[in-house]
Amino acid sequence: MTKDFPDHPDWLWSSPEPRRSYDVVIVGGGGHGLATAYYLAKNHGITDVAVLERGWLAGGNMARNTTIIRSNYLWDESAGIYEHALKLWEGLEDDLGYPILFSQRGVLNLAHSLQDVRESVRRVHANRLNGVDAEWLTPEEVKEVCPIVDVSPDVRYPVLGATYQPRAGIAKHDYVAWGFARAAAAMGVHLIENCEVTGVEVAGGRVQAVQTTRGRIAAGTVALAAAGHSSVVAATAGVELPVQTHPLQALVSELLEPVHPTVVMSNAVHVYVSQAHKGELVMGAGIDPYNSYRRRGAFHIIEQQMSAALELFPIFARAHVLRTWAGIVDVTPDASPVVGTTPVDGLLVNCGWGTGGFKATPGVGWCYAHTIAHGEPHPLNAPFSLERFTTGALVDEHGAAAVAH
């Protein structure tokens, strides 16, 4: 086997038959579900837990994202939970005892217009007040961090500068999922694959059980972590969520010798790209504008992505697209997640992460586990309640992702 990666352990997890009942059922065996199970067991001693996955473990958005990790979000609420996540990332390899290839290679968010510059500088200043490492770089400094970016003034949308978060970076998504899975399984959590939740049973305003393709499973608490399918599952309990599901595309190139030392994101021209450990360029493309659960997007979005990428990175001209794919992301009106309680007792929700789910994995797992264990939100996820849509206290992060929602 290719030895550019550390070896995996000889044991990952077993595949138990589901029991009839658990204290906690987590719906969705992606990164968030697995991290939640892990922190439930580790931080709260709750191990009578099943993670139900409709397909193969971490085979949804966890397997499809571009693995960027950063915490340089604009609003205090967002910075709080993402920075908590980043601190956990920094110790996660030791914590899980699994080589997750977390590489703090820094993230550049490029600015291409005076408006971009204002917004970027605003974010840098906000980040610093929140203890998030952030710098504003001139085009020349951008070139020093990432020599292959074309910072010349004569491109269609010149680089006018960038925000830089040195502690940001990437990690190997499968390894992260498997690290959480292995550690959770070792503490007694049941990881159950090919088990689709088809309904949530509610009686007297309280959750009772889930119906699955492998039978009814009773639960004291049902915690949703089903990403793009959250609203479908919640609807079976009569809970409506302010999310819309869209395909989000990504692609990789062939393996290439190292040329790209960091992560570059550009809001204005819709590019985000890093070079993964094996050498492939991993790129995020745009989000398809219409609701869809089809795990593939439209091709013109990839074409536009390439045109934008070559404006910034002429050296990529003759690289090849090897694979394209899409995840399905659930997007909220303010581009911030919903993590907390619902009108149904014992039914909790964690959804609406849009493009930000992967980077939050340990942070949200930590907070969601707290919410499950205590029946009320951790202070870091309290602002991300469902009620904010009624009060109007939104956390509008539309400027924060590389994709305009």
């Binding site: 969520l241 599901t245 219409y290 659930d330 849509f389």
Partner: protein, 85 residues
């Protein structure tokens, strides 16, 4: 690239259209009479089914008309469409 059947111009590439989300969400008769919850529902809550979905499209690069369509969000197949009049 979906082929979207504009009721006026015929089938055109999806790049010519602007998506308008769920159809049949009427602006409330009297917003002032709504509770905050009801108003929030109008503002922010839309159906998000995996399957048949009645939705709005605008043929922005063509005749600029809005129309409704029923599309299956699991397959992207458009099953029906109607003129808004």
């Amino acid at each position: 690239m979906l082929l979207i059947p504009c009721p006026w111009c015929g089938p055109r590439d999806e790049a010519e259209f602007h998506y308008g989300g769920q159809a049949h969400v009427a602006y409330p008769e009297n917003p002032a009479a709504l509770s905050d919850e009801e108003w929030a529902r109008y503002l922010f809550f839309r159906d998000n089914p995996e399957g048949r979905f009645a939705e709005r499209w605008n043929h922005t690069a063509g005749c600029r008309r809005w129309f409704n369509a029923v599309r299956n969000t699991a397959t992207n197949e458009i099953e029906a469409r109607e003129v808004i009049a």
